[in-house]
């Protein structure tokens, strides 16, 4: 998977690039808009990560020019500007996703993977992890064969964790996915829900499936 990363902050560029490489991506980097645009036009990237504040040609212009050339490559905007108006205008200009600095690397990763799943995500109706069995169609959860009652939110959270098995999900990502952004930062609602789910799972003997990665978020493993 070939990724183009256009980011002028060299340190950040380096870390993201290392991180992505460790995840198995092939990464090209550009430190300004002109070079970014040149690379984007020259190679068939599968996804482009684009900073908005760039020296020379701005990210917005790079985005517009790429789209004018009718390149349908998915573009993720990475920016320190988070105005909702900004977000909307760039989505309209052809960006596929928008991530605000500072971000959790795992979030960038999840978003990139989502963009790369061009075709509708292959989602089984039944997800089985360890002793846990989630039926997305029937909306039931079984632990070691026993049914567990879950509220709608608990169910949505558990499915989200299960679909991203082994990947740390940040609170922000969970809030955005299961609630909406209004809750971000104001409440410890995610922690409370995670605790509830953990309690319910541990009642059925699956105590250690969801673990906390301090400072980052939560991850669901198969409990081994």
């Amino acid at each position: 998977m070939r990724v183009l990363l256009v980011e002028d902050e060299e340190k950040l560029c380096q870390i993201i690039s290392h991180g992505l490489k460790a995840e198995g991506f092939a990464v090209d980097t550009a430190n300004d808009g002109a070079k970014g645009f040149e690379l984007a036009m020259s190679y068939p990237y599968e996804v482009i990560v684009l900073d908005l504040m760039l020296p020379g040609v701005s990210g917005s212009n790079v985005l517009k020019t790429i789209r004018q050339k009718n390149k349908s490559v998915p573009i993720l905007i990475l920016t320190a500007r988070d105005g909702t108006a900004d977000k909307v205008s760039h989505m309209e200009a052809g960006a596929d996703d928008y991530l605000t600095k500072p971000f959790a690397f795992s979030e960038l990763l999840v978003r990139l993977r989502a963009l790369l799943r061009r075709a509708p995500q292959q989602r089984e109706d039944i997800i089985s992890i360890g002793g846990l069995e989630i039926d997305r169609f029937a909306r039931t959860v079984k632990c070691m064969g026993q049914c567990v009652d879950m509220s709608a939110k608990e169910f949505a959270l558990l499915v989200y964790l299960a679909q991203n098995k082994g990947r740390v999900l940040s609170r922000t990502m969970i809030i955005e996915h299961v609630w909406d952004q209004s809750f971000d930062g104001f409440t410890n609602i995610v922690d409370v829900y995670i605790r509830q789910i953990r309690n319910k799972l541990s009642d059925r003997g699956l105590a250690s499936m969801i673990s906390t990665v301090r400072g980052v978020g939560y991850v669901l493993n198969d409990g081994t």
Partner: protein, 465 residues
């Protein structure tokens, strides 16, 4: 209409017309007195001259024994009955020697005029009119006599009453014209001031582009508005600089934060066999990084809210539905602490606003209530329409706040010592953000609290049709 007696308009007109009226009245009174005096004075001069003529030219020709001839001579010379003149000559003992006949129009009766006691001038009132009489001593032959010569002052009176009438009509007229004219003049010259004050009222930090109208009158008010506009320019510049600063600052803070975070995360990811102790420490640093990020975000959000970006969407929405739905999403937070949470609503309450922001406002308030309510407490949320306002009330049985803390609760970063010591999350930005959102929706937020008993929070937002 209430008249504002402190207004420049009122005071200017009152002073100015008061002064002019005083001047006019003084002028009228003085004129009246002068003219009256002058008229009487000229009568006195004429009468004195006649007395002198009488004694010099007629009395000297006659003796006291020749009264019949004297009377005829006087009648011939002065024909008193035809000229309405009063003439009397009496001796020292008050015996009348000559008395003019009653005037032809009978406006006075000579017999009834009392005899003068001493020389001089006097005023003898006579049924409505009056006689102005000059008395002088003279000699008739070898006898001293007293001559009284009078004239009715009807004409003098007429002239004076004409003047009086003119003054009585004229003065109020002058007063009226002065006041009305003054009103018009003052109103005209103050009109620009009213325009200025009307526009000035519209200028807020959200409306800093508006400038006062410069009415080109060339007068002081034009200068004033030009100068005020320059002042507003400077204010706007300072304000924009301040808000640009907070935007730039949070912007500049984000990239290094992103780097710190990414570095720490990659550490955690790439060396999975780090000692647990180290992982814990890195996690702790990451948590604090997240905290800084949140504070940065909140400050940034706050400055954008204050810059008027709070109502990105502006739709008609039912506050009751929004609140009920949000409460359901947050119910677990209260269940977790065994807090009884109930929502009461009297039907839909429509307001105009941005649902995401309003939700944020409500979450911030409810989260505070949950945070500061101990286990087994209760929280009651009420949404109602009262008059023209949607009223959201959040009542908790929490730890409350001390009265002396109340004025500060909307300050940025402020947290009660008690709350601070509990080491709860948050940065003291929830309430300032809540208030900014509320104000952006034209609403108000009020907090009442009794320490140890609980807090009631009211949000009032104008209803929409």
């Amino acid at each position: 209409m209430m008249i504002n007696t402190r207004s420049i308009r009122f005071r200017l007109i009152a002073w100015y017309s008061g002064l002019i009226i005083v001047v006019a009245v003084t002028f009228g009174v003085l004129t009246y007195r002068d003219i009256a005096g002058h008229l009487l004075n000229s009568s006195e001069v004429a009468l004195t001259r006649r007395i002198e003529g009488l004694s010099r030219e007629i009395l000297v020709q006659y003796s006291a024994d020749d009264i019949g001839a004297l009377s005829r001579a006087i009648d011939n010379a002065y024909s008193p009955e035809a000229t309405d003149r009063f003439i009397r000559i009496s001796d020292g003992e008050g015996k009348v020697i000559y008395l003019s006949s009653p005037p032809s129009d009978l406006i006075f009766e000579p017999e009834r005029v009392p005899i003068a006691q001493a020389p001089g001038t006097r005023w003898e009132p006579l049924n409505g009119n009056g006689l102005y009489i000059v008395t002088a001593d003279a000699r008739l032959g070898d006898r001293p006599v007293r001559i009284e010569m009078g004239t009715p002052i009807t004409e003098t009176n007429l002239a004076l009453s004409d003047l009086q009438r003119s003054l009585f009509i004229g003065l109020p007229l002058v007063a009226f014209i002065v006041t009305a004219g003054g009103y018009v003049l003052v109103a005209r010259s103050l009109k620009p001031v009213e325009q200025l004050s009307a526009t000035a009222q519209e200028i807020t930090f959200k409306q800093l582009d508006t400038r006062l109208p410069v009415i080109e009158t060339g007068d002081e008010i034009e200068h004033l508005s030009v100068r005020l506009n320059k002042m507003i320019d400077r204010l706007a510049e300072a304000y924009h600089q301040a808000s640009r600063f907070s935007v730039d600052a949070s912007h500049e803070l984000r990239t290094p934060l992103a780097i710190i975070r990414a570095e720490l995360e990659s550490l955690l990811r790439q060396w999975e066999d780090l000692p647990a102790n180290l992982v814990k420490r890195i996690g702790s640093v990451l948590e604090e990084t997240e905290r800084i990020s949140f504070i940065t975000e909140s400050l940034f959000a706050l400055s954008r809210l204050e810059a008027g970006e709070a109502k990105i969407r502006n739709e008609r929405l039912d506050l009751a539905t929004l609140v009920t739905a949000t409460v359901d999403q947050m119910r677990l937070l209260t269940e977790d602490k065994n807090i009884a949470l109930s929502v009461r609503s009297g039907g839909p309450v429509f307001v105009q606003g941005d649902s995401a922001r309003l939700k944020q406002l409500f979450i911030a308030l409810l989260d505070n209530a949950v945070k500061y309510t101990p286990e087994h407490g209760s929280i009651i949320v009420t949404v109602n329409a009262e008059a023209s306002l949607a009223v959201l009330k959040i009542e908790d049985t929490g730890i409350g706040m001390a009265a002396e803390d109340m004025p500060r609760i909307f300050e940025r970063f402020w947290r009660a010592d008690k709350a601070r010591s509990r080491r709860s999350d948050g940065a003291g930005l929830g309430l300032p953000i809540a208030r900014s959102i509320c104000q952006a929706h034209g609403g108000t937020i009020d907090v009442q609290s009794v320490e140890g008993k609980g807090t009631i929070c009211y949000v009032r937002i104008p209803l929409t049709a």
